[in-house]
Symmetry: D2
Subunit: 279 residues, 4 copies
């Protein structure tokens, strides 16, 4: 099923590096071709396996870290994305699937095809005539100054759907509905929903989050001139040059695919809630 494997890891934690080294050795014994993110390759002294993410095209990708590691990786890897086996070493593993001590068994299961591929819709967005990298979680637009109001007009498939004044406005995917959108007061979208949610941050007035089908195109038009920026997945930031930008978001043709061993959205949600409430 898989003959080449890519690997990305946090390099600031010893346990992550040790695990990456062990997995690299294990993959060698399995005679699988392995690519390592260059920084990781250097850190675990396997320079000959280095391959920059934007050129990496493995059959399967292992990430060692938390959700941030996954989000950064998905922003850089060429499309279509390989399936991801996400190993959790941190506290925040909502997207992750296995703990370090289950890593080898998980890899074996993958190689035998004993896994579920969970496909997650991503968000394609265009602003100022240019495409942004696809978002797994959310695309957010905000003023480039603190304590400043963003005045926007929202359109769904070009039809006006309301005005929104807020600190920031985001569109989140189903997966992203449990991320920053949730913190800002957005609803949880069931994993079988093919839908997105538009969630304002600290909206004035009575603007609530809006859920619309993933087949829609949503446009966020800034109606009061000001400096703004866009952030994809909390990682990729882009300052906008125009003063009345219009951000258009729709379903990407690409997806992120996670390797799972059982269907367990609500179990993972519960774990995330535990983190949210400080457990």
């Amino acid at each position: 099923m898989f003959s080449t494997v890519g690997m990305v890891s946090r390099t600031d934690r010893k346990d992550a590096l040790q695990l990456a080294k062990r997995i690299t050795n294990y993959l060698k014994t399995k005679r699988l071709r392995t690519f390592l993110d260059p920084e990781l390759a250097t850190s675990i002294k396997e320079p000959e396996l280095a391959m920059p993410l934007p050129q990496m095209r493995p059959d399967m990708l292992i990430t060692i870290g938390g959700d941030g590691t996954i989000l950064r990786t998905c922003l850089e890897i060429p499309k279509p994305e390989p399936p991801i086996l996400a190993i959790d070493i941190g506290v925040r593993g909502f997207l992750t699937e296995v703990k370090p001590n289950g890593a080898m068994k998980a890899i074996d299961n993958c190689l035998r095809g004993e896994c579920i591929l969970e496909k997650c819709a991503k968000l394609a967005s265009v602003v100022e005539g240019e495409s942004l990298p696809d978002a797994l979680n959310e695309v957010l637009i905000a003023p480039d100054a603190p304590v400043k109001l963003l005045y926007t007009r929202i359109k769904i498939d070009k039809i006006p759907a309301g005005k929104c004044r807020a600190d920031a406005v985001m569109v989140a995917s189903q997966v992203g509905s449990t991320g920053y959108s949730f913190t800002a007061g957005g609803p949880v979208l069931d994993p079988s929903m093919d839908a997105f949610v538009l969630t304002p941050v600290c909206a004035l007035g009575v603007f609530h989050p809006m859920v619309f089908p993933a087949s829609s195109t949503v446009t966020i038009e800034v109606t009061k001139p000001q400096k703004t920026f866009v952030v994809v997945d909390g990682q990729h930031r882009r300052a906008l040059k125009t003063e009345n930008p219009s951000l258009t978001i729709s379903k990407s043709e690409h997806q992120t695919t996670f390797i799972r061993f059982r269907r367990n959205f609500y179990r993972r949600l519960e774990a995330r809630m535990l983190f949210y409430r400080g457990g």
Copy 2:
């Protein structure tokens, strides 16, 4: 297209009764058979047209009033429901379509078939082994005492989806997402969404509204024994006899059909928001 017409109206307002009388006369000139809700028939002195709602099976139904009038009518009328032409005499017409002065023209348009039939999903619910009337807006379960917490376990298609402690818990339809669910903090569901939303009222902890496909079955299990009641569309109230009731909600096989003259969900939403924010 329509050969029999039913009519329901608020009878506590003179303007409503005058309009009902005018429409009745107009329908006579069109040689349409007309049924009136008995209270209305008495009020406008047309006793021979009286027909109780639970027996009324017209091709089209005219309501004169606000959303409350529509909700009450839909709870009582036999299924499948006739299309509804909703005339607004009040301040709260989110579901209504025409103002009194546009009523005759609207009826003419209907008779010529120049209208859009907007079909709205309804909620079927079962509790203590009995079916409740279908809900157009929402089904709510709450403790039968003020300032009392409801402890529940939520299941989506029998899979545990979380625990919720709140003043009350409701499931709202797409239409209902702009009603009481909204007031309780729920998201707006776009009219093209085939989805429902579960919204708690004053939840403890970090439980947010959850959106799930209309093809799902959601179960709200009361986990701490107490007296509770269920309310359908804010109108039909039923005290529960068991102490750990389980309320099951799914999409009804029936729909409510509104006669519209243009597609305008977000315009009506804007009007509703105006009411919400005190406009």
Copy 3:
């Protein structure tokens, strides 16, 4: 310091009754005169110590139970209230001070005067010309029907301070700011605040909780006629007879006094938050 002691306890739990019996015996050895709530007296077979709460005037009052037990006791006991030593046998002890196994030591400390008396402001309220029992937590007014909006006008010292449409409106004391008011979205008032908070439940529009000095008089006028009721501390419910009642709330001349062994509001708050978030 104390020569007579009253005691109230939950009688539906064996551990509570056993503790009550032990304490009764202990007080006998200390030669303190003891009064028991009649239901408790019967339950632990000490009928000769029975004394109805409304006649009980001890130097000190011991409650065994949770916050509900304390609230019910404070509603009934004659004013001025004796200091309360609150023993926690349940999960919800925000107001309680000691665990059962610390009870005897706590009593000893009280008798030696080694304790802090924490005085808590209470709310006096008048509606339809009659005074309600003082509230330790909050006074709430709500429509006597579910899913029904309460239209009110708020006045602070007779000056209009805004209109509020909501499911219900309450005024909470400093102590009550961590109770139902909190659940409805209200702020926490620091224990050194001599202030109250007016908190709506599911308000329409942009009405936020309002904090005003405890020296103010707040009036909640119902502006749209309907059946309503008032609830004091979630326990004492009173249906209102008039259709446009006006509820007036101010600081009571009486206080509730808790016996504490250290100042620890924020520690108790943390414990309450743990309960709120599902810990």
Copy 4:
């Protein structure tokens, strides 16, 4: 009562400049010594009246603009501040008192002493060993990256009062309770409250705003190292150099004094709510 008058105005609006010119001429006829903010002096061709704000010490200060103009002015003017007559030319005048057409009459009334001096508490704050300018509205600390969580520990008078994880955390004054703190979900503090409110922006978990007496000192300690910045009144921004900064906020010895012609907090609040809800 007043013998020298300072004036600050928005210079990007013609109506503001025309009014400033008229007032300047009027003050000349009254033989009052007038100081103009240098940019304003240039704009209305009165260079000889120019005086930089940080050196301006008039008996009374006129601002022409909205709340932003007032906030910026108060940050720069030497302490103690002169009383401010705030003329509103914009849409957002919560702090402002008079409309342009009432300006001359208002000035006359001031000169005759027919006015009320409304004193507003300000916030003094210290971070990294340095004092920030006093805040009229609020002091906010936030991570210097979007979609990033701030981990903090809150102390009131050095006593731990809870942990808070949020997008940002602010302390707002009574006046500021109707500003950004409100947007973030904070309560309204009655003008007679000598209190502050700590309000998180998009907090995780169940952290609610906390109200504490203005005599308290509140400390916000960043517990997870990261780049942060502080903003005073949405205007004065300061990047922090240390990774675990501790921000200390208490009541300033200085106040901002507004010239009012009647006591009308709740009327101004109502106007602000109208803006908030989109009126």
